[in-house]
């Protein structure tokens, strides 16, 4: 300690804003910034949403698996869709209730949908029957190819 302070007295003090001092400060600051960066960058990168494989596959359901009066749920782009076999053929709806977005549940006994959150009821055709909703269930287009129902 004493040695270090004696050493400092050997030379005249340089003004605090001299070029050499600022250069040293920039070097130390830069090294510190690089160090912090190498720690922070992997952490921030880790927190990014990861790439999930096979996320946007089309839904494919064989038609002979669809029984009248039953509903089939499937995941489509992270959304639940529901397929209902009616007398006029299959219909596909977005399962999220048009009130606040809970997934509606198919009631086989009454052939309608009811929402578990606030009790909304939709008919098998997606029309509002009762509850705090004004809009019918969103219908999703589909195509039938080689005996398969395809939502893409």
């Amino acid at each position: 300690m004493n040695m270090a302070s004696d050493h400092a007295h050997d030379r005249p003090h340089e003004p605090p804003s001299s070029g050499r001092r600022r250069f040293c400060q920039a070097c130390i600051g830069g090294a510190a910034a690089i160090t912090v960066g190498t720690v922070v960058y992997p952490i921030v990168a880790f927190l990014k949403l990861p790439v999930r494989l096979g996320e946007s596959k089309p839904v494919q359901i064989p038609l002979d698996r669809l029984i009248p009066g039953q509903a089939y749920y499937a995941d489509f782009h992270g959304q639940q869709v529901v397929v209902v076999m009616s007398e006029s053929g299959p219909r596909v709806f977005n399962a999220s209730c048009t009130h606040l977005g809970c997934n509606v549940v198919w009631d086989t006994a009454h052939s309608n949908f009811h929402c578990p959150c606030h009790g909304a009821v939709f008919s098998g055709e997606g029309q509002v029957v009762s509850g705090p909703v004004s809009a019918p269930l969103l219908e999703i287009p589909f195509e039938v190819k080689e005996g398969n129902l395809i939502i893409s």
Binding site: M1, Y41, P42, I43, A45, F46, L47, P50, V51, R52
Partner: protein
């Protein structure tokens, strides 16, 4: 810079932190004769902190279930950005921590630093060594690989050497007769909460005692 200084000034005005900082950090000198070997304990603590933070990150994706544990670790390593790095740092820091703890203890033993008034430092230190190895052992099972599985099987077999209660202890540790999903869940809870909580308590004790007695000053 002046912004930081003003924030510091605002806090200092209210809590008078400067004398405490000077006493404990900025004007607390390291004895000149202390060698770099005196850093092993502090470095072991640093690797512990590294593992706490990387562990928090891994916990975002890890699933402690026999059917998904291996897949979730593979997902971290191959799908999460920088996931391989975080997972590797967590595992390498564990090895480093064991090495640093042993080097720290070897130095304390060689210079007889454990003598009065520092007996309890040694006792708490030995308990911390045991807790560290338990952390390593429980963490080793979590990726649910062949090595993990058989490592846990061989490791949990050790208490069976205890007379009379040995087999009961083995069964208690495994949460059943064999290594199963129950073992995985138990080791997971030990690894992420129970052991780190106990370790933190002993570390706090270890550090407070060092501050009270002062570190052993070499000649």
């Amino acid at each position: 810079m002046s912004v930081i200084r003003r924030i510091y000034g605002w806090i200092d005005n209210r809590f008078d932190v400067t004398p405490e900082l000077e006493k404990n950090v900025t004007k607390k000198w390291v004895p000149r004769t202390l060698s770099w070997a005196g850093c092993f304990g502090g470095l072991a603590f640093f690797t512990f902190l590294v593992q706490v933070f990387t562990g928090m990150l891994l916990l975002m994706y890890y699933k402690p279930h026999p059917e998904s544990a291996w897949d979730s670790v593979t997902f971290i390593k191959s799908n999460v950005t920088m996931g391989w790095l975080v997972q590797r740092i967590h595992a390498v820091a564990a090895n480093l921590m064991i090495a640093l703890v042993l080097m720290h203890m070897a130095r304390i033993a060689y210079y007889k630093i454990y003598r009065t008034p520092r007996e309890l430092h040694w006792v708490s230190g030995v308990l911390l060594l045991l807790l560290t190895t338990m952390m390593a052992f429980t963490g080793y099972l979590l990726p649910w690989t062949q090595l993990s599985y058989w490592g846990a099987k061989v490791g949990t077999e050790i208490p069976s050497a205890i007379p009379i209660i040995g087999t009961d202890v083995v069964e208690w540790v495994r949460r059943g007769k064999a290594i199963s999903g129950e073992t995985l869940g138990f080791f997971f809870s030990l690894h992420i909460w129970i052991l780190p909580a106990i370790m933190s308590a002993f570390m706090g004790m270890h550090f407070v005692m060092i501050r009270r007695t002062g570190i052993s000053k070499p000649l």
